[in-house]
């Protein structure tokens, strides 16, 4: 009885808190490793982008032929969202809010090079950072709010404010948000699913902590 009252009090208190949203799940992809809330879920001896993506594709049995025609940024986005969405099936209205530093510069350079001979339409189509949002939408049949932002570095304040504004205005019941950067072959990915489901409180501080946890570790 005492415990029940205490739990009721805590819930009541929590409900009154301004922060009513939680990081339901998250994934981190960097330096040949993939982490989520359960710990290290994949590790590759190859940390170079393509061999790493291939090994992860096989390990997680993605079985998605479209994956192979995508650029690196979209492949990373599909891989990371698969790890979250496999456990947490998205709704049709799950919003996608992703940011990075390099925009689509990695594929921009490849397309620019192709223009010296024959400009490649299959490269050109990926020369926008939000294409990955389209790829995620297609794979998971999500017809939702999209927003791609560019920041110099991981901007927890913007991600938190914008994600929260979508949730508060009920434009989306949950949001997949985070950071998806690829430049000079180096990848840095952190995605999280934000909803009302109780877990880690959704705050700038917690976003920063989860994003930085991996960065603080010694690199191999």
């Amino acid at each position: 009885m005492v415990a029940a009252t205490w739990l009721w009090f805590l819930k009541r208190k929590r409900n009154k808190m301004p922060n009513q949203f939680h990081i339901q799940d998250w994934v981190r992809v960097k330096n040949g490793e993939i982490f989520n809330s359960e710990g290290l879920v994949f590790e590759s001896s190859e940390d170079k982008l393509n061999p790493f993506l291939k090994a992860a594709y096989d390990c997680f049995k993605l079985e998605y032929p479209k994956f192979h025609k995508m650029d690196g940024l979209s492949k990373l986005g599909i891989l990371a969202s698969e790890i979250i969405f496999r456990k947490n099936k998205p709704t049709e209205d799950t919003a996608l809010v992703i940011s990075n530093n390099a925009s689509s510069l990695e594929i921009d350079r490849q397309f620019q090079e192709s223009t010296e001979t024959f400009a490649s339409p299959s490269l050109f189509v990926y020369t926008l950072p939000n294409i990955v949002l389209g790829e995620i939408s297609i794979k998971y049949k999500v017809q939702s709010e999209n927003g791609f932002f560019i920041s110099e570095r991981f901007n927890a304040q913007l991600l938190k404010n914008y994600t929260e504004s979508l949730l508060l205005s009920k434009k989306a019941p949950e949001v997949l948000c985070g950071w998806l950067d690829l430049q000079n072959g180096e990848y840095d990915v952190f995605l999280c699913l934000v909803s009302k489901e109780r877990n880690i409180p959704f705050s700038e501080e917690n976003l920063r902590k989860l994003y930085c946890a991996e960065n603080d570790k010694p690199t191999h």
Partner: protein
């Protein structure tokens, strides 16, 4: 959700270096599109709306030194400057800066022109603009294909609604670079004529370059006639990354959500500013989505034949023109419109007309399957 009030604005384009000049050109039926021959990119001639660099540098020399800034930066700075000049009391340290662009300084990839490599980065573009005026908040940069400019307005409203910002300057800009010409040409998407939105003989887009800026606020201004954003929604087609959904799925959904948020019916929309790029598939898709939404009778236009497709700037320019159409009770013709060439009926505006509009809808669609709908309301005394 709170309203977002649309205050002073500026458009820098081949049609002029202020909103007034732009509107006068549209009123007179002028187009910024001119024939280009670039045999090294394509054997076919094509049309583009390009801003004369000499004129640009002349205008810019009054506020800064031309050689220190890229063409795109100068376009953005000029547009923002016009707004700040009209709003001397606006404190840049308390004003958010939202920049919408698809490709930023992408022309530097081919010709760096003495600029450091990091100038290619959109975050650097944001810094250059912020530093020029002394904006202290980190600029918010939206890069979401061809809905970017309109999405910038939605972002301002959404952050304003949760009281994260109050006043913001939203600016949209993109260039006609060899990069995008080559890309659209590789898609065989460039028209050999000046583009002809919604027409039977349309055969692709014309590209254009421009910048536009607008001051927005969640606080109602003390003026008698004002336009506000009262509904906004985006939705992805989840269908294809480089082509629109055949049924206009995402556009239809975004229109429904925006109307719902604005609490109005489709019949109340007095004017529709369409995307109308003049590709076969885009215009057809729009007609499907408008028909499904019950907007087939609503007067609509596309401004692409005046400007060309200005990518990340387009939806913002078109929102600004819509704002002035509403304020002046004046609808502009859809230039280069001939015989209707989409499978669903549409009420394409053939000649400029006077009409009072209480509500207007702006839509946009882009690569990656993204779509956007914005509902504007006129409050007049």
């Amino acid at each position: 959700m709170k309203k977002l009030y649309l205050l002073d604005d500026a458009i820098i384009s081949p049609l002029g270096f202020s909103t007034e000049e732009n509107i006068q050109s549209i009123r007179e039926g002028d187009s910024g599109l001119k024939l280009q021959q670039r045999p090294e990119i394509t054997e076919n001639p094509f049309f583009t709306g390009i801003i004369d660099e000499t004129l640009l540098n002349q205008a810019f020399s009054e506020i800064g030194s031309s050689e220190k800034f890229t063409k795109l930066e100068k376009l953005i700075i000029l547009a923002v400057k016009l707004i700040l000049d009209k709003n001397k009391n606006l404190d840049p340290t308390k004003t958010a800066l939202i920049i919408a662009t698809t490709k930023g300084n992408i022309d530097l990839l081919k010709e760096p022109g003495g600029f450091p490599e990091n100038r290619l980065k959109l975050s650097e573009l944001g810094k250059v603009v912020a530093n020029f005026f002394g904006f202290t908040q980190t600029p918010i940069i939206v890069s979401n294909a061809c809905i970017s400019g309109g999405l910038g307005l939605a972002v301002a409203r959404r952050l304003g609604n949760s009281e994260k910002i109050k006043n913001a300057i939203v600016v949209g800009a993109d260039l006609v670079s060899d990069f995008v010409i080559s890309g659209f040409n590789s898609f065989q998407a460039l028209s050999t004529k000046a583009c002809k939105p919604f027409s039977k003989d349309r055969d692709g887009i014309s590209l254009g370059e421009a910048s536009a800026a607008i001051l927005v606020s969640t606080e109602k201004p003390e003026i008698s006639n004002v336009i506000s954003l009262i509904g906004d929604a985006s939705a992805n087609d989840a269908n294809h990354i480089s082509g629109p959904s055949r049924t206009g799925e995402g556009l239809y959904k975004s229109i429904q959500n925006a109307l719902k948020e604005a609490s109005i019916f489709a019949e109340e929309i007095g004017f529709l500013s369409a995307h109308g790029t003049a590709t076969v598939y885009n215009d057809e898709m729009e007609s499907m989505a408008f028909h499904r939404s019950g907007l087939q009778e609503t007067p609509l236009h596309s401004l692409k034949a005046y400007y060309g497709h200005t990518l990340g700037a387009s939806a913002l320019i078109e929102s600004i023109i819509t704002k002035h159409s509403m304020l002046n009770n004046e609808l502009f013709a859809s230039k280069n419109f001939g015989e209707l060439g989409v499978s669903k009926p549409l009420n394409v505006i053939r000649e400029n007309q006077k009409k009072e509009i209480n509500y207007a809808l702006k839509t946009a669609s882009g690569f990656g399957g993204c779509n956007l709908a914005l509902v504007f309301k006129a409050e007049k005394k």
